[in-house]
Symmetry: C2
């Protein structure tokens, strides 16, 4: 057991921060964990369930003497929080974040990092469709990836220390360049979420198909979309607004491909459809081989022995 | 235990037919089950694993003396199979199918139903991403919906009998009108599948993002898409080609909504995005309340106690 940081401050107490707390407790990864959430209800909930050793009434108070400060608020709120804590940061401390977008966060937070304080952006790629201080659990990061995205001027020693911290929480770490991070996440996460939101919205809007029918027959592929589309609205609004360029680029690619398939359907080009659908099976195979999912048949049904 | 049909013939031995066989055995729902698959390999596999009481060398042989004939082949092959078995059907028998599209199947199969034979189309809304004779299991239909879609001239007694048969297999049944069926399925199943195929194709095609990255970071929402996009290519090709009108209509709605959201992203309209994402949460709630999914946080992670 190593303790990369003695005192850790969690700013924001949602799914990610609360899971980080339980993971730190599980492995005794830090000595003290302070926390702050903007809403009094969240602070109250945190105190009730024992989330954080100390729940503070301000971000400034929470970061006092902290060796690691984790900004775990929606991406759009990072800059304001950084500004608020700026005068209270200890020399030698490291500020990190858990935002799903990196370029905008670095632009917003970077200017508020005082000399003598390190800034190492990061992005744990783990989550569920739930949110809030009660949604966290210790194993959320186990065997998941945490991307470490050094900003200009991130010192190597501070980067390595943050990597070892995330490894103590159960994650695998990988360093990635800022713009590449935002593009990869647009592909594997941001655009899939937007598409799921859209499809669920279409179903809801279609008056000839009743809500009841959509719900009853959701097992036919639609259910996974509704799960994704139940994710936190504020977090996702901020993701799309701040990763605008990559999102719109990938959306353009998506629409282009979809139009090509739509045309194949309209013209009855079965060969093109079959070739496309066969090709996509290969990627699935890769994901199974990499241990990122199981081959158990799902669509909501556990396989049961005959 | 009731036996609506004494002898059942399964034409096609894929996921659905093999699951029907195991469900029939589980509940002694029929006395004898014969089966036929076009490929010699599938017939060989079926014999090896004990799928069907008798695996026949032709569809004509399999339907001999059968009280219920289940057409469980891709939608595009239904007409040819119906034509082949037409001279061999017993008077008073019922022909049904399990296709995901109903209007086209009725058009293709209907003309081959002789006088004195009943035709009652149906569509069990259950499946996994696996296919082939070894993918079936007895519980696939438990608590899932089987839509019964009477064709013009389906006699009520024959419809009721097929409903009780599907209930014996574990399913809930609901009658639905042909065109409405095809529209509902386009919304909850066909278009979501096409979208998933497309998104996986985009990811694969994007050379700046490596396959390795797509695979490694798939837990971030993308993994569910790859599972859906691993479904049987032939089945899905046929679904899109035969449910062309409803698919293209829903795709049009989808693209319209997606463009509106893309515009909100481009113009930075956070309020519109937030309102949209909040609204879609309600549908998810309905699905949970209806018992069609659990509220366990997923994204690939089982919740573990702290």
């Amino acid at each position: 057991m190593t303790q990369p940081y003695k005192k850790v401050a969690l700013i924001g107490l949602g799914l990610i921060a609360s899971s980080m707390f339980w993971a730190m407790k599980r492995g005794s990864v830090a000595e003290t964990v302070s926390g702050y959430a903007r809403s009094p209800e969240s602070r109250e909930t945190a105190r009730r369930i024992g989330l954080c050793d100390e729940v503070c009434e301000s971000a400034a108070e929470a970061v006092k003497d902290a060796d690691l400060i984790v900004l775990a608020v929606p991406v759009g709120a990072m800059g304001a929080v950084a500004k608020e804590i700026e005068p209270h940061l200890k020399a030698g401390a490291t500020v990190t974040d858990v935002g799903s977008v990196k370029e905008t966060v670095i632009e917003a937070v970077g200017p508020h990092i005082p000399d003598g304080v390190h800034f190492v952006p990061a992005h744990p790629m783990a989550g569920t469709e739930h949110s809030g201080p009660e949604s966290g659990f210790a194993t959320l990061f186990d065997n998941r990836w945490c991307l470490i995205v050094p900003a200009e001027g991130s010192e190597d020693e501070a980067v390595v220390r943050l990597e070892s911290y995330w490894q103590e929480l159960g994650a695998n770490t990988e360093r990635m360049e800022v713009a590449h991070h935002d593009l990869v996440c647009a592909v594997v996460s941001h655009v899939p979420h937007l598409i799921a939101y859209t499809m669920v919205g279409v179903a809801d809007d279609l008056r000839r198909v009743s809500d009841q029918e959509v719900i009853k027959f959701s097992a036919a592929g639609f259910r996974d979309f509704t799960r994704i589309a139940a994710s936190d609205p504020t977090m996702w609004r901020d993701v799309f607004l701040t990763n605008k360029q990559a999102t719109i680029e990938i959306l353009g690619r998506f629409t282009e491909e979809l139009m090509a398939l739509q045309r194949a359907i309209r013209t009855g080009d079965g060969e093109q459809l079959h070739a496309y659908f066969t090709h996509t099976r290969a990627i699935r195979r890769g994901i199974l081989d990499a241990g990122q999912d199981t081959d158990a048949p799902d669509f909501g049904r556990a396989k049961v022995d005959r």
